[in-house]
Amino acid sequence: MALPRTKLLHGREVGTLAGLLALCAALWVATPHFATVSNLVNVVEQSAIIGIVAVGMTFVILTGGIDLSVGSIVALSGVALGTAHEAGLPIAAAAAVGLTVGLACGLGNGALITLGRLPPFIATLGMMSVARGIALMLSDGRPISGYPASFRALATGHVLGIPFPVILMLAIYAVAHFLLTRTLLGRYTYAIGGNEEASALSGINVRAYKAAAYAIAGLLSAVTSMLLVARLNSAQPIAGIMYELDAIAAVVIGGTSLLGGSGTVIGTLIGALIMGVLRNGLNLLGVSSYLQQVAIGSVIIVAVLVDMMLRRRARRAAE
């Protein structure tokens, strides 16, 4: 219990990492196709989508909130980009429109929660429904396809053999880690999640920093939507359904407490990779769709169970 904080967090991530490695080892034994370079690159690339959304979700959850609207924001900002591009805007400008829309949705959530004092669950549930509806209205329920190769390179490009989405994701994690550990924003995010009242009484502008978390989540959802559009060459109004659950699962598997105030973005990255590896492995093994659901559910449960047990043991050993 009395470990210095940095150590404790470190210990946490080690537990989750052990889970990831165990899963990888199991798959390595189970199928020859798993542990190939191309497949591993492939897994990380696939994890980038949920991985980036989960970064924003980490900020939100650290403040003690939750964001159910990320999936819908992915759809809406993609459709906004598509509509703007169809209307003749150059792709860079269209992308800016998409990012702005994502940011605006996040700020909307933030305003409802801080100014309107709505519970985050309700505010973002509402936003989830509204943003999805607008995405469908804007696009008339159809995908908007056809983007220039320059834009599509976002998803298809490589740098030194590493797919661009992977680089983008890692860069976002690095920035997020820096923000959370080194800056005012990060410290206040933890403080607000740990004790909102004490934070306010310490003169922290709680509203602004809480809103910032949702804004970050909105913006990163928009970034994810750019990746998705580039990857699929199509902006879809029904994109991102259930992303919120996957992202929350990644965050929680990564050791962040849903009560707020404790957790790290590194843990989230490992959590997102666990989800990605799991899906990939089940596909490689050709597990039936029905059984896949059972397997995914079980692994989520077991991963967190083991992680909790390891942490408890580590704590006891430290005594």
Binding site: G141, P143, R231, L285
Partner: protein, 306 residues
């Protein structure tokens, strides 16, 4: 058959309700457009409603109940569940509102058991479409090769029928093997991931059949990302605009056109005739077509014996 009830008593234009499975799927968006065009030209007020999720029979039933409260004059419906919708049909019957079923058949024994009646069925057969896709793949691969299947949301009837037809045909060709059958939940990005993963375990894949075009297009992008466009035959279903374009650009090979626009049009015309007291045929088949780069083979959907 045909119901002579005419509810046009209250003066204004008759109101016809079209209840779809969802409007999040371009297939039904096109159906709505066909219906709207017909309604506009016939002077009918068309109310279109759909649950948010394609598989939500319970919500669809609630929508029907609510529209019956509104006393629409006729009900056109694409059932989310072929048996589950029967109680809703019963309620419409009780309110003396004619029912036209579109796209997905209502289970005949269940209908009979409940003593419910429908005025007409308009649509094509998903199983047949699946067979058509199967025959295309068999032909293109010369009866020899490894095939991957992208399933829709597990338990979803439309996808299941399409796959049934497809598997039926493949079973007739001992040289064709389904090496992987995985769900991508009707979604494009999931299809992308699943295809990527399947290509890892089956790099020697020859063909992919997706239960709808949304997933097929995801597969198209994944195959392109693997640099294998043109080497793997990709067949979808629904003939969405995007899929037609991909076929034209030779990134995809074929899709099955069910012509939802025509279904919508026919449905409204049937409602109009029913409201005028005329009769309509119990079965109004809509053609399904194989859409490929080279040819457009049209096939008449055979009317099923009831």
């Amino acid at each position: 058959l045909g119901i002579a009830a005419c509810n046009r008593g209250d003066g204004g234009a008759p109101t016809v309700a079209l209840v779809l499975k969802t409007l999040n799927n371009p297939f039904f968006v096109e159906m709505e457009q066909g219906a709207r065009e017909a309604a506009d030209s016939l002077g009918i007020e068309l109310v279109v409603q759909a649950p948010e999720r394609e598989i939500d029979v319970e919500k669809q039933m609630q929508i029907v109940e609510n529209l019956l409260q509104r006393r629409v004059d006729a009900l056109l419906i694409t059932p989310s569940g072929s048996r589950e919708i029967v109680p809703a049909v019963v309620k419409a019957n009780e309110a003396a509102i004619p029912v036209v079923v579109v796209d997905t058949r209502v289970d005949a024994p269940a209908l009979e058991e409940a003593g419910a009646r429908i005025s007409s069925f308009i649509g094509s057969d998903n199983v047949d479409g699946g067979r058509m896709a199967g025959r295309f793949v068999a032909e293109r691969l010369g009866g020899q090769g490894r095939v991957a299947v992208l399933e829709g949301i597990p338990g979803h009837e439309t996808g299941d029928s399409r796959l049934t037809g497809f598997r039926e045909v493949l079973a007739e060709h001992p040289g064709l093997e389904i090496v992987s059958s995985q769900t991508a939940n009707w979604e494009r990005d999931q299809a992308f991931n699943v295809t990527q993963n399947v290509l890892q375990s089956h790099p020697d894949l020859d063909a992919i059949f997706a239960a709808n075009d949304v997933m097929a297009l995801g597969a198209v992008e994944a195959v392109a990302a693997a640099g294998r466009t043109g080497e793997i035959v990709i067949v979808g279903f629904d003939a969405q605009d995007d899929a037609r374009i991909a076929i034209r650009e030779e990134r995809m090979d074929a899709t099955i056109a069910q012509n939802p626009r025509e279904m919508g049009r026919l449905a409204v015309i049937s409602a109009d005739r029913l409201l005028r007291g005329e009769t309509v045929p119990a079965e109004q088949p809509v053609r399904i077509e194989l859409v490929t780069g080279q040819q457009t083979g049209a096939v008449e959907a055979p009317a099923r014996e009831e």
